[in-house]
Every structure is written in structure tokens, then in C-alpha cells.
């Protein structure tokens, strides 16, 4: 299987909208949640449309558009998005409207914009793209489901597919999930998330898009060699067994993996799984993490893929991503492992385009 990641688009709590740059100046905010840095939306989106868009649609659209502009692809064969909570802000607004006037006369605008496939539909509308258009909404496997669909389409007959993962933070979501004790109670410096493990992670958000293509291009970052999505695997041995199978299916062995990208989130309970994996299987590997940069959200793994693709494309691992210091001089094969809320696990194998 050769599926090329040819272009990236990324709006996140880091400076990630310039693909030539790879976390050279990491943002180290001290906060109780990590929100996206707003790019200059007007630079690539139409001003008239911006007014009507929620934040999620705005940064999602920007990220997608960044991918489209840089790839110069004219005939897109599919648009596939993954989102854990969809257009949350518009959903909340419409719910508030319903109770605000006791189910009286309501404006339908928020309702219309609150469907989970709003962004994929909006991208199709903007491009006048009548092709395949899907949206996956399965918690921590939303983005991975979209990616799997994209891989299948390329194996069928598609040439260029836009795949993205996106979720937004809202005040209400934060207030509710804080009550659920999902996050740290006090503000924390982003880069200290792993050095100071406690109960709770830190909430984040973002939109990361990828142009998947059948053919390599001058901008290719990496090849996708395999993807596996797991639902509540029985044990750590099961997870590791699936990793080995994935790697073997690609004609490789565990020894060929140069970097393991981990989705740990700083929560002492949830991170036990990663710690055990490291201790038992990955002692001699170069390890990296990413959720201290983007925060935890249902599609954060899309940001994780962005870091992995950048590493291979640039043959460089920024210090801010490294969990240890056993750097391999050449980066060929990267394994990305993410776990969301102990339920949704994903394994993704990437390879250097020239390998």
C-alpha cells in the first residue's frame, strides 16, 4: 500500500499554518485549556462568508483551504472529515434558544449549521465538488475512521482526497468537562504537562487536514503504510500484538521503527498505559509526544499525524516533541499510537517517501 500524504493544513494552539516551519518556536502558554491561535482568516477565506461561520467552521475551513491551495489539486475525489463533537457552539446556541423562548419561534440558522457534516458540506460548496463526502463522528476514532475511508478510496480508484480531523472548545464544554474532572484544576505551562503528571489532562482543539494522494509529488511528506483502529482492546499485549501485525503487514519488523509517536495526555491514570508500553517494548526507541502542544480532544490524533508527517518530510525531530534522547540519524519508519479515554485506540504506520 502506497498512500502519499502530499500536503498538510493545520490550525492549532501552536504556530502551524506555515508548512515550511516545524515548531521552531513552540508556544508555551500557561492556561487551563489550549485554544487555537487564530490565523489571518481573511487572507484565504472570503470575508462575506466569514461572518456566518462559527469558530470551528472558520478554523476548519482555513486548514482545509491551506491544504487545497498548497496542493494545487483541481479535481478532488473526496472530502472526508472526522469530528468528535461537531459544531458544538452552534448546537449549544440552538439549545439555549430553545429554552430561552420556551420552544417558541426560533431562527433556524444555528440549527442548519449544527449538523456534524457542516464543514465537509461547506468545503464541497466552496469547491463545487460533487464527489464523495463523508463525516465520521466516533469519539477518539473519528479522525482515524475518516483516514481509513480515505485510504480505502485511494486503493479503489481515487487520486486525491482531502481528509481532516477537527473539534472546537467552548466555554460550556469546558465548564461541563471540568466538573467531570477531565482536566487539571490549575493553569499549567504547556511544556510542563508531562514532567508534572497529575490527575486530569488539558483540553485543546484544532483542525488538521491532509491531502492523500495516489501519486508522489514534489511536496510529499510521508507514505501511509498501515492503519488499525481498536475498540477497547483486552490488554496491553493485544495492543502490542496489533502493532506487530501492522508492521509485519507492511513487510517490516519492529526493529525498523525509528520513532514512536505517543498520544499521552498528562493524566496520571490514562498515561499508565503509555508508560507500560514504553517500559515493556519501547525502551530503545526514540519517543515523541504531542498533546502538550495541542491539548487533549477527540480528534487530537490528527495533530499527532501532522507531527509524524512533518518529522519524515523534514527529517528532523524538534526538541519540543522528544520524550527521550536516543535520536536515530535517519528517519524512515514512524509508528503513531493514540488512545482516547481508554476506549478508542489507533495505530498508524508512516514511512519516508524515499524508503
Amino acid at each position: 500500500m502506497n498512500i502519499y500524504i502530499n500536503v498538510l493544513g493545520n490550525v492549532s494552539p501552536q504556530v502551524t499554518t506555515d508548512n515550511a516551519d516545524f515548531l521552531t518556536e513552540p508556544v508555551n502558554k500557561q492556561d487551563t485549556s489550549f485554544a487555537c491561535i487564530d490565523p489571518d482568516y481573511k487572507s484565504i477565506l472570503q470575508k462575506a462568508n466569514l461572518r456566518r461561520m462559527s469558530r470551528l467552521i472558520k478554523f476548519g475551513m482555513y486548514s482545509a483551504q491551506q491544504c487545497l491551495i498548497d496542493s494545487k489539486v483541481e479535481n478532488l475525489d473526496a472530502i472526508i472529515t472526522g469530528t468528535g463533537l461537531g459544531c458544538l457552539k452552534d448546537t449549544e446556541k440552538f439549545l439555549i434558544d430553545i429554552y430561552g423562548n420556551d420552544e417558541g419561534v426560533l431562527s433556524p440558522t444555528k440549527f442548519m449549521q449544527s449538523t456534524h457534516n457542516t464543514l465537509s458540506g461547506q468545503i464541497a460548496l466552496m469547491l463545487n465538488c460533487e464527489q464523495y463526502n463523508f463525516t465520521y463522528v466516533h469519539r477518539g476514532a473519528s479522525f482515524e475512521s475518516a483516514l481509513l475511508d480515505g485510504i480505502m478510496l485511494i486503493e479503489e480508484e481515487a487520486n486525491n482526497i482531502l481528509v481532516g480531523g477537527l473539534d472546537e472548545l467552548t466555554d460550556t464544554y469546558l465548564a461541563v468537562t471540568k466538573r467531570m474532572k477531565m482536566w487539571r484544576r490549575d493553569a499549567i505551562s504547556q511544556l510542563d504537562l508531562f514532567s508534572n503528571k497529575q490527575s486530569g489532562s488539558i483540553a485543546g482543539e484544532g483542525a488538521s487536514f491532509f491531502m492523500l494522494s495516489k501519486e508522489q509529488s514534489s511536496t510529499s511528506y510521508a507514505k501511509i503504510k498501515g492503519l488499525k483502529i481498536l475498540f477497547k482492546p483486552k490488554s496491553i499485549e493485544t495492543i502490542y500484538g496489533e502493532m506487530q501485525a501492522l508492521i509485519q503487514d507492511a513487510g517490516l519488523e519492529m526493529g525498523a521503527i525509528d520513532v514512536v509517536v505517543l498520544g499521552m495526555n498528562g493524566d496520571q491514570e490514562q498515561d499508565k498505559l503509555y508508560d507500560e508500553l514504553i517500559e515493556r517494548y519501547f525502551q530503545d526507541k526514540q519517543l515523541t509526544a504531542f498533546k502538550h502542544l495541542c491539548g487533549e480532544y477527540k480528534t487530537a490524533s490528527a495533530f499527532g499525524l501532522w507531527t509524524a508527517a512533518q518529522m519524515l518530510g523534514k527529517q528532523n525531530i524538534p526538541e519540543v516533541l522528544k520524550l527521550n534522547k536516543s535520536a536515530s540519524p535517519i528517519l524512515k519508519n514512524v509508528l503513531v499510537y493514540n488512545c482516547y479515554n481508554n476506549s478508542n485506540h489507533s495505530l498508524l504506520l508512516l514511512q519516508d517517501v524515499n524508503a
Binding site: 461547506q122 463522528v137 466516533h138
Partner: protein
């Protein structure tokens, strides 16, 4: 990649019945399920006509033998009933070593529970039961169903508005073709909620009476609720367990109308394209289609758009066309799979349900839907349409073996 996709069992619940047998009975007796809101707690109770499953959540929980304290959303409850029936109907043994997945679809997820939460939370942000809001997302009902049935190999959820479950059927079929699964339970579930009822009401596309699909005087849709699942199976799985499937999924297609966030293009370009892709996939000709189970929501724009697409596609050889929305109401994410089950019943029992309440042909498009129940007829191929917000258009083709 060329293997067949068999349909080996189905389950459904909607306003016309709590299971497939009751649904079949209702169709043959022409008993629709549209009545003023009765169960849903809303100001519109007793007024807006809907296709409601006439059981309270408590009754559904009792039917399922679940613990009330689990606090499941209505979407989970409806979905679990239909999914259990589909598995039972297909007589499959999940422990036979083959790979089984679940792909569900929903638009509302657990928003019925979020509504209860928000009412309290808006008054005081320290109030509202967290158990309610934790069911909000769309993946919740799917994971509950997966764990209830013991399906772990692949679990995912699709949400593309009113075409959602047609798309979960399509994704499931493709995963079998890619040899990622041996069989997959596919479908969707959506409950009636204050969110959708008030949303569609605000859009002014709810008929205050029983809906009239494809009629000149159609006046909007009736919302419904329900769930349906079908088990798709590979040749390998069918062979291994020596099972005789009901029928075959021969075609599927998805296309985007790229016209407007919520309205369909008048000429129905997305609909036409989805149907064409499905036909191409099935390697059938237009003439092979015996019956179209149309999306036919009875909104002004859908029926015009879909009617135009059907006329363009079939030209002068129009098959039987009908919408079953006047029986079940528009069940949103569940519509595609509910109508797939109704199509399976049509194939199996050789009948076509009437398009209820039709009296006058639309001025713009000369579509004459099925007026009376047709029985004892030979049907080989049925095309089923589902279209949604975001321009999402899907078509499935279900065929006799």
C-alpha cells in the same frame, strides 16, 4: 475486490412496529404511524404530527432488560432493540472466529439527555446531571450497542444528516470488499428530540398534517424516530456457516449536491449522480430497477429535486416509485437503513407499499408514485435514496439473489 455483499438479517423499530414482523404487517395493512406528539416532552405535545415509537424510555429499558441507572439515551435504546433483532435474525455466532464490525449512524446522538442537562445547567452551571451530558456525542449510542452485542473488531459512527445510515451501509460493504471485515452490522438510530423538532419547525418544513410525498399540494415532512440495522456478510462468512442470505447489496453511491447547506438543487444533480454511481457499481441498467424507494420527504424542494433527478435518469421508462415517509415519518439518520429494511421486505415478499396521501401530480415533474399496495409482483432490484443537509446524497441498490 469483486466479491459479493450479502444481506443475511435485519432488525428495525419505528412508529409502525417494534420489530420487522410488525413493520411488515403494518405496511400490508396500510397502517401508518403518524400521530400528534405523545411521548416526547415538548410544548408541541398533542400538536405536531410525528412518527413516534409509542413506548417511554422506561418501557424500552424494560423491554431490553437493561439497568435504568445506566441512563441510556433514547437513541441507544432504539438502536439496541433493532441491532439485537438484526443479529438474532441472521443467526450469526459472533464467536466463530470471523471478524465482525459495527458501523452505526446518528444525527442527534444523546442530545435528548443533553436537553435535560441544559435545562438545569443554564440556570446554574453547577447543576445538571453529568450522566446526562456524557451521552451527548454520537459515538455513545454506537459503543453502547457494540458492548451490548459483544462486537469489538471495528466500531465507528457516521453522521451526514439524513443520509447517515445509507452511508454506514455503504462503508460496511466497502470494508468487507477490502477484506477488513468478514461481516458488519450497519444501520442507524435517531430518536425524536426537542432539538430536531424545534429545528425543523424553525425551518418551516414540518407539515401540520399527514405528509403527502410527491403531491402537488405537499406541505412539508413529518419527523419520525427509529432504528434499523442489517447484517452484511462476505461470501467467505456465508460459505463457512452454510447460511442462506436474504438478498444482496449490489450497488451504492454517494455524491454531493454542492448547491446549498440545507436545500437541494432544483434539478437534483447530487441525487442523479449518486443514483448513477450506484447503478454503475451494480453493473445494472436503468431498466433493471423495478422499484425506487424514494427519499420523498414531502418538502417542496426535496420532491421537486428528487423527481427531476428520477426523470432525468429513467427518462421514458420510469419504474415504480414511492416514498414510505408517510408510514414512518422522516427518521433522519435512521431513514436510510429503515428504508433498506423495507426494501428487503418488498423483495422478499413481492410487494410495493403505496405512497400514502397522493392525489395530484406535481406541476413541474411528471412523477406518478405507487397509489395502491401492489402485491404478488416480481421484483429483482430496488433502488433506495437518502439525501441530507450539507448536500449529502446516497443511493443503495438491493437485489434478489
Amino acid at each position: 475486490m469483486s466479491q459479493k455483499i450479502f444481506i443475511s438479517g435485519c432488525g428495525m423499530i419505528s412508529s409502525i412496529g417494534n420489530n420487522v414482523a410488525e413493520s411488515l404487517d403494518a405496511l400490508l395493512k396500510l397502517e401508518h404511524g403518524i400521530r400528534p406528539v405523545e411521548i416526547l416532552e415538548t410544548k408541541h405535545k398533542g400538536k405536531i404530527p410525528v412518527g413516534e415509537v409509542r413506548s417511554s424510555n422506561e418501557a424500552l429499558i424494560e423491554q431490553l432488560g437493561l439497568q435504568w441507572k445506566a441512563g441510556h439515551s433514547r437513541t441507544t435504546l432504539l438502536g439496541t432493540i433493532a441491532a439485537r433483532e438484526a443479529l438474532q435474525n441472521s443467526q450469526v455466532d459472533l464467536k466463530d472466529g470471523l471478524r465482525t464490525g459495527l458501523i452505526s449512524a446518528t444525527t442527534v446522538g444523546g442530545i435528548d439527555q443533553s436537553e435535560d442537562f441544559y435545562k438545569e445547567f443554564l440556570k446554574d452551571p453547577t447543576k445538571g446531571r453529568l450522566r446526562h451530558i456524557s451521552k451527548h456525542d454520537c459515538g455513545d449510542s454506537t459503543e453502547n450497542i457494540a458492548e451490548d452485542l459483544g462486537i469489538y473488531h471495528f466500531v465507528s459512527t457516521i453522521s451526514t444528516a439524513c443520509s447517515s445510515s445509507a452511508n454506514s451501509i455503504m462503508m460496511g460493504a466497502r470494508m468487507i470488499k477490502h477484506n477488513l471485515l468478514d461481516r458488519v452490522l450497519v444501520g442507524g438510530t435517531d430518536s425524536l428530540t426537542r432539538y430536531t423538532l424545534n429545528g425543523f419547525n424553525a425551518l418551516k418544513i414540518l407539515d401540520s398534517e399527514h405528509c403527502k410525498s410527491f403531491d402537488q399540494n405537499r406541505n412539508g415532512l413529518n419527523l419520525g424516530e427509529g432504528a434499523a440495522f442489517i447484517l452484511l456478510e462476505s461470501e467467505k462468512s456465508i460459505r463457512q456457516r452454510k447460511y442462506k442470505p436474504i438478498c444482496e447489496l449490489t450497488g451504492y453511491g454517494n455524491s454531493n449536491d454542492a448547491y446549498h447547506q440545507t436545500a437541494s438543487s432544483p434539478e437534483g444533480k447530487g441525487a442523479l449522480s449518486a443514483m448513477k454511481i450506484a447503478l454503475k457499481k451494480s453493473q445494472l441498467n436503468n431498466n433493471d430497477i423495478d422499484y425506487v424507494n424514494a427519499h420523498g420527504t414531502a418538502t417542496f424542494i426535496n420532491d421537486l429535486s428528487e423527481g427531476n433527478a428520477l426523470m432525468t435518469l429513467f427518462n421514458d421508462r420510469i419504474p415504480e416509485i414511492g416514498s414510505t415517509k408517510a408510514f414512518t415519518g422522516h427518521t433522519l439518520a435512521a431513514a436510510g437503513s429503515i428504508e433498506a429494511v423495507l426494501s428487503i421486505l418488498s423483495l422478499k415478499h413481492g410487494f410495493i407499499p403505496p405512497n400514502l396521501n397522493f392525489s395530484q401530480v406535481m406541476e413541474e415533474v411528471n412523477i406518478l408514485p405507487v397509489k395502491k399496495l401492489l402485491t404478488n409482483i416480481k421484483i429483482k432490484h430496488i433502488l433506495s435514496n437518502s439525501f441530507g443537509f450539507g448536500g449529502n446524497c446516497s443511493s443503495l441498490i438491493i437485489s434478489k439473489l
